[in-house]
């Protein structure tokens, strides 16, 4: 008979007041996190012809279309680098961000069956898409490296700051995703706002255009968009395009952390009701 200690005593009671984030519990269930991400990746590529190549095709195709219509026809300036790489460099983190936001937001609904049958810390569900997105990002990034070679862009030491921008993008996506996930479980129509949200967000992020297009007086407000910082940061770190975005980053980072923290609390508050309302 295994020995039971005080630590393994759990109490089930109605929760109210301050609720812990249970981050340690999340760590205990890290294997489940990996398995859920693994599952989503496997399922995506089962019975497909192109398999993993799809992770490259999406940003590539988008880049081509944007290059033709925005770069060539609309002649949008591209901060001194060829337009295709200008836009692709932004698309790689953007598509990762938009993927995490959409998948996290819908995660509770997609996994609703599991939620009503078994216990695990529910935060695992909206976090799992982050891992999947990292895989997609890695694949799209190799393509980006290829493009840099093609255009003869030599990266400077600023490349080392890339992980920071990556982390900011993921944190933002997760923050919004967790909020959306909790809201969607409770209010079914929130789910329909997600495509609009991502569309709108894309336009206010300097993907197809450089942020220099934005008039001076709006620059600060514009800079509050964390993804603006991420995209400009990516371009700056890899391609060396101006402007160096460091000043605007701190308020947006603060904003993201606030959003993430509040989202986690809201999620945890509602967690006990998920199995009942979903």
């Amino acid at each position: 008979m295994p020995e039971l200690d005080h630590k393994s005593l759990r109490v089930m009671r109605p929760s109210h007041g301050l609720i812990s984030l249970q981050l340690l519990r999340l760590w205990e269930y890290r294997e489940l996190l990996f398995f859920l991400a693994w599952r989503d990746l496997k399922v995506r590529y089962k019975q497909t012809v192109l398999g993993v190549a799809w992770a490259i095709l999406q940003p590539l195709a988008t880049m081509l279309v944007f290059s033709i219509f925005f770069g060539r026809l609309a002649k949008i300036p591209s901060a001194g680098v060829p337009y295709p790489i200008f836009v692709y460099c932004a698309l790689v983190p953007w598509q990762m961000f938009s993927f995490v936001l959409t998948e996290s937001g819908n995660s509770l609904l997609h996994n609703q069956y599991m939620l009503t049958k078994i216990y695990f810390p529910r935060l695992v569900v909206p976090i799992a898409p982050v891992l999947t997105a990292l895989v997609d990002f890695a694949v799209a990034f190799t393509m980006l490296v290829g493009m840099m070679v093609y255009y003869g862009v030599v990266p400077k030491a600023t490349v080392l700051l890339l992980p920071f921008f990556l982390a900011l993008a993921l944190l933002t996506a997760l923050a919004v995703g967790v909020w959306l996930a909790a809201l969607t479980a409770e209010y079914r129509d929130v789910r329909h706002t997600i495509p609009f949200l991502t569309q709108f967000w894309m336009y206010v992020t300097p993907i197809v255009y450089p942020s220099s297009l934005v008039p001076e007086k709006w620059r600060i407000l514009y800079g509050l968009n964390p993804m603006a910082g991420v995209v400009e940061g990516f371009r700056w770190a890899l391609l060396g395009t101006p402007p160096t975005p460091l000043a605007a980053l701190f308020p947006s980072l603060l904003l993201v952390l606030l959003l993430l923290f509040s989202g986690l609390i809201y999620f945890r508050r509602l967690e006990s009701t998920f199995a009942d309302v979903i």
Binding site: R39, K42, V43, L115, I118, R188, S272, A275
Partner: protein, 434 residues
């Protein structure tokens, strides 16, 4: 330190049904907040207090005031009708949902099997789903690796491990799901009705596995309608009805009360006077009864119990010769047997009692119905009372040799077998030459 594994105190779970059963839309919530001040103003202008929304959501207490203690290593069965709160209780204890009031304490890791194949994805292969399902149930990858071969062997899906699960038959699907969960190594196990899936052979396997878990010192909470399995596996039983614990105690006693309460049986019927009694101017039935004839203090009828069948008949015409008897039907409508007096005796006017004894170890389980008849001759049957008495024959663990599954057949007579080894060599097969 006490040796309790699970303790529940005043557990209650309330669901709101009705007005809020449809999904909430944020749009509605916002509209309500906008309308409310307007409604309040309108009401105030009319001289009323602020009004509540027109439709009141009604409440359902799926669990109310549930309290019990379960010791470590105990196997506890939970029985009750559908909708009595059994599954909700397991869900609360498994932390899938939160109680509305009260609390429960659990000491030890919990493995819960509330449904087979949780998390299975149809596109993934059997092998992949084993890992996925195991991870969802809380097993570490190392644990799954360790038990992998056993799981596959238990589920009998060796040949199909690398086929997507969407191609599995429902039987294979269920076997695989159960096989993974059956290898949970937690101290506490919650099992909810999963043993009612699969074919008879598989159910046998599952029950065997449950027995292994229960006797291995693990605490098992077992919700099932298979009352026989509960009786065999559990030392303690809880009967839930409408969310409350109605009875608790040794399984045999709790199950007996439950059966008596649930199945409407008519084991005795009495007519006060000839006016209401069925019959005609020749004979009328006054009383019929079926009683167990055994020392079983619980007064229940099992396959082993001999039964006393009694009929009391008013004979209204002296000197009439008649036979009476009954047909016995089982719950499948099969006519099990007929029996009765055969001599066409003549009786004086008055009340006649005719009784007989059905020996034990004859009938099979299930609800049986008695159809009583009186015959004046082979062609004249003046009185027939269909479905006069109904009684339920419960199963008994004795003479089953540890077999828990269904034992079909219209009857279940106890028949002795003798075996003898004959000292004769096995003939070699003859090879036909060309």
């Amino acid at each position: 330190m006490n040796d309790l594994a699970i303790r529940a105190v005043g557990l209650g779970k309330r669901y709101r049904i009705g007005a809020q059963v449809s999904y909430k839309a944020m749009r509605d919530t916002i509209m309500e907040a906008v309308k409310a001040p307007l409604r309040a103003t309108a009401g105030w202008m009319r001289g009323h207090k602020s009004t509540k929304p027109a439709v009141e959501a009604s409440q359902l207490w799926a669990l109310r005031d549930v309290a019990f203690e379960i010791k470590q290593g105990q196997a506890v069965g939970i029985i009750g009708r559908n909708g009595s709160g059994k599954s909700t209780l397991l869900k609360v204890l498994a932390q899938v949902t939160e109680p509305t009031e009260g609390y429960a304490e659990i000491r030890g890791r919990v493995g819960s099997l509330l449904e087979v194949g949780v998390g299975f994805h149809p596109e993934l292969t059997g092998r992949e789903n084993i890992y996925l399902n195991g991870a969802i149930l809380g097993m570490r990858k190392a644990e799954i690796d360790r038990n992998f071969d056993e799981i596959v062997a238990f589920a009998e899906v060796e040949k199909f491990l690398d086929t997507p699960v969407k191609h599995y038959s429902s039987g294979m699907y269920v076997r695989l799901g159960f096989a993974v969960a059956a290898h949970l190594e937690t101290e506490i196990l919650f099992v909810d009705e999963v043993l009612s899936v699969g074919d008879v052979a598989f159910q046998e396997k599952c029950l065997g596995r449950m027995k292994h878990a229960a006797s291995g010192g693990r605490t098992v909470l077992f919700v099932s309608h298979n009352l026989l399995a509960i009786q065999a596996l559990c030392q303690h039983a809880l009967w839930l009805d409408q969310g409350r614990v109605v009875a608790e105690g040794r399984p045999a006693a709790v199950i007996s009360s439950y059966l008596q309460h649930v199945r409407t049986t008519t084991t005795e019927i009495v007519y006060e006077g000839p006016a209401e009694a069925p019959g005609n101017d020749v004979v009328r039935l006054r009383r019929a009864s079926v009683q167990p004839l055994s020392q079983d203090s619980l007064g229940s009828i099992t396959v082993r119990t001999p039964l006393l069948i009694e009929f009391e008949v008013w004979n209204l015409r002296a000197g009439i010769r008649f036979n009476c008897g009954f047909n016995l039907y089982n719950e499948y409508g099969i006519h099990v047997f007929s029996t009765g007096t055969v001599d066409f005796d003549s009786y004086p006017e008055g009340l006649i009692r005719l009784s007989c004894e059905i020996p034990g170890d004859l009938l099979n389980t299930g609800v049986h119905r008695i159809e009583f008849f009186v015959m004046l001759s082979e062609t004249e049957i003046p009185l027939v009372c269909t479905d006069l008495l109904t009684f339920e024959v419960a199963d008994s663990l004795i003479l089953r040799g540890g077999y828990f599954g269904e034992w079909p057949g219209a009857m279940r007579p106890k028949i002795s077998w003798t075996t003898k080894v004959l000292r004769e060599p096995v003939p070699k097969p003859v090879i036909l030459g060309g």
